[in-house]
Symmetry: C2
Subunit: 294 residues, 2 copies
C-alpha cells in the first residue's frame, strides 16, 4: 500500500495522532535544518504535548551529550526534559552498562568526541581515549593488546588520527573485545553538503580486522533495545517521525512500532517515498512537520 | 603440485637460477626484517649480479621514494641503481603519467607521505595535498568538487585526518575523478606487530563513496603494467621472490612470470605454503634467501 499523504483535514489529522501515545522524533531534517529551526516546530511540539503525548528526540549524532542537546532544543524554543533526549552517545552508554553489563574493572576505549565521554561518565562506565598526537617510535613498542579494554566504541571524531586507529586495532585483535559504533552513517550532512560520518571512522577498523561493529544508532535495533532499557512504552502505540527512509523509517518499521511518519524537509524525497517496489515505506508523510497542526 | 623446497645441492640451485634472467625481490621479510638485514643478503645479491642477472626491488611501501630506498639499500651494503627500485609511490606516478596519461592541466590530490610526492614531482605530475590541520567552519563552506582534480591517490599516511578525508570525498563525488591507491594492504608490519596499512586510509573513502580504488601495489597487475611501462623484460624469464603468498607470490603468478620463490623469513609460514588446497602456491621455497648460495 502506498503511503498516505496526510491531508490538512482536522478529523484525519486527529485520527492519525490519536493512534499514538508516544512520538519518536529524529531532529536534523525534521525539527531543524542545520542551525535553522523549521517553521512552527515549537508550536507543533507544544500542540502534541497539550494532547498528552509522550515525546522522545532520537538522533544518531554522537558528538553531543543529552545535556548539550537539551540546551540546543531549549535555545530553539523547544522546552524538553533530559529524559526526552536519546542520542547515540547515550544509547551506547546505556547499551554498555545495561545490556552488555560490562564488568566494573573493564574499560571502554573511545574514538569520538565529548558527547560520548560525557554519557559514559554519567552512566558510570570507565573509559580511556587517545590524546590524538602523532604516533611515536615508543608507541610502536608499547602499543598492544590490553585485557582491561573490554569494548572499543567508535563515533564521529573530527580529530581522528593514525594513532587512535592503531590503538583501537591492537585492542580489537583480542576477539573478546566488543566492537561497537555509535552509528555507522557513512556521511554526515552539514552546510548543505556531505562530510565523513561515524561509519567512516570505524571503516578502517572493519577493513583491518574483518569485524563489523554493533551499531547503537538508527536503524539498528540495538538502539531500540537501549531505549527500552530506560523507558517503558507500548511499541504499538508509538510513531517514529523522520526524514530518512533508510535510517528513521526503517528503524520504526523494524522495531515494530505502530506507525511511521516521514517529512520532506530533509534527505528523502517524495519520489523516493512513492517509488514503486520500495522496501522501506512509511505509513504516512507530510511536506513539513508543522502540517500536522492542520 | 606442491612447491619444491630447493635443496642445497649446487646443481639443483644452478638449474633453478638458470631459468631466469631477472629476479623481482620484495624487500621487507626477504632482504631485511625491520631495520636488520637478514644473513648474507648482500652476498646473495652480489652472487646473482655476478651471474649476470637483472634485479628489481619491488615494494608496496609508499612512504619512501626510490631515492630514499636506494640510500637504505646502500646503507645496508647492497649497492643498487635507482632504476632497480620499484616502490608503489613510483608505480603510482608511472601509472598516472604513462598509463592514465593524466592531462597536463589536471592535478592529483594526494593522501600520503613524502615518497609519493617526490615520485609525482620526478614524473612531472602536478599534485595538491592537505596540510592536515583541523577542519574549520570555513572549510565546510569552501570544500567542494574541483574539476582540476583528476585523480585522488591514497597511500599510507601517518598524519591521516578528518580534513584530508573530507576533501578527498568531495573530489571523489565527481565520477570522472579517478580513485587510486598506492596499495590496499590492510596492515603494515613493523616492530613485530601490525599497524594500519595504506588500505586502511582508503577504506573510509570506499565506505563513503562505494568506489574501490585501483591499487598500484602487489598483487595488483596495475603495478606489473607500471613496471612494464618503464622496463622491457620477458615475463617467462622472470622470477618473483617474496615472503607473502597473498601479495608477492600471487603477484608473480597472476603476472604470468616464469617462476615464484617464497622465503620463510617474513609473513607466510611453511605450513601455509604446503597447505593442501591452497590457491596461491609458489614454484619453490627456501628457509632464507641466502640458502640460494648453497
Amino acid at each position: 500500500m502506498p503511503p498516505q499523504k496526510l491531508s490538512g483535514k482536522p478529523e484525519e489529522l486527529a485520527a492519525f495522532i490519536d493512534k499514538f501515545d508516544i512520538f519518536l522524533f529524529d531532529c536534523d531534517g525534521v525539527l531543524w535544518q542545520g542551525a535553522s529551526l523549521l517553521p512552527r516546530t515549537a508550536e507543533t511540539i507544544a500542540h502534541l504535548r497539550s494532547l498528552g503525548k509522550q515525546l522522545l528526540f532520537v538522533t544518531n549524532n554522537s558528538t553531543k551529550s543529552r545535556t548539550t542537546y537539551q540546551a540546543k532544543l531549549q535555545g530553539l524554543g523547544i522546552p524538553c526534559g533530559i529524559n526526552e533526549i536519546f542520542c547515540s552517545a547515550y544509547s551506547s552508554a546505556i547499551y554498555i552498562s545495561r545490556v552488555l553489563r560490562l564488568q566494573r574493572d573493564k574499560r571502554v576505549y573511545v574514538i569520538g568526541e565529548s558527547g560520548i565521554k560525557e554519557e559514559l561518565a554519567t552512566e558510570g562506565v570507565a573509559y580511556i581515549s587517545d590524546d590524538g598526537g602523532d604516533i611515536t617510535p615508543e608507541d610502536y613498542d608499547s602499543f598492544g593488546p590490553d585485557e582491561d579494554v573490554g569494548v572499543v566504541l567508535c563515533g564521529l571524531d573530527h580529530a581522528i588520527s593514525y594513532r587512535k586507529l592503531a590503538r583501537a586495532y591492537q585492542y580489537l585483535r583480542n576477539p573478546g573485545t566488543v566492537f561497537l559504533a555509535t552509528n555507522i552513517d557513512s556521511t554526515f550532512p552539514t552546510h548543505g553538503k556531505l562530510f565523513p560520518g561515524a561509519g567512516a571512522m570505524s571503516a578502517p577498523l572493519t577493513y583491518m580486522t574483518g569485524r563489523t561493529p554493533v551499531s547503537l544508532g538508527k536503524p539498528s535495533q540495538a538502539m531500540m533495545d537501549a531505549i527500552e532499557g530506560v523507558l517503558e512504552f507500548d511499541r504499538k502505540r508509538a510513531c517514529m517521525v523522520g526524514d530518512r527512509l533508510d535510517t528513521d523509517i526503517r528503524f520504526g518499521i523494524e522495531g515494530g512500532l505502530g506507525g511511521t511518519l516521514a517529512v520532506l524537509t530533509g534527505v528523502s524525497t517524495e519520489e523516493e517515498i512513492l517509488e514503486e517496489g520500495a522496501t522501506v515505506v512509511p505509513d504516512a508523510y507530510l511536506d513539513r512537520l508543522c502540517d500536522i497542526l492542520g
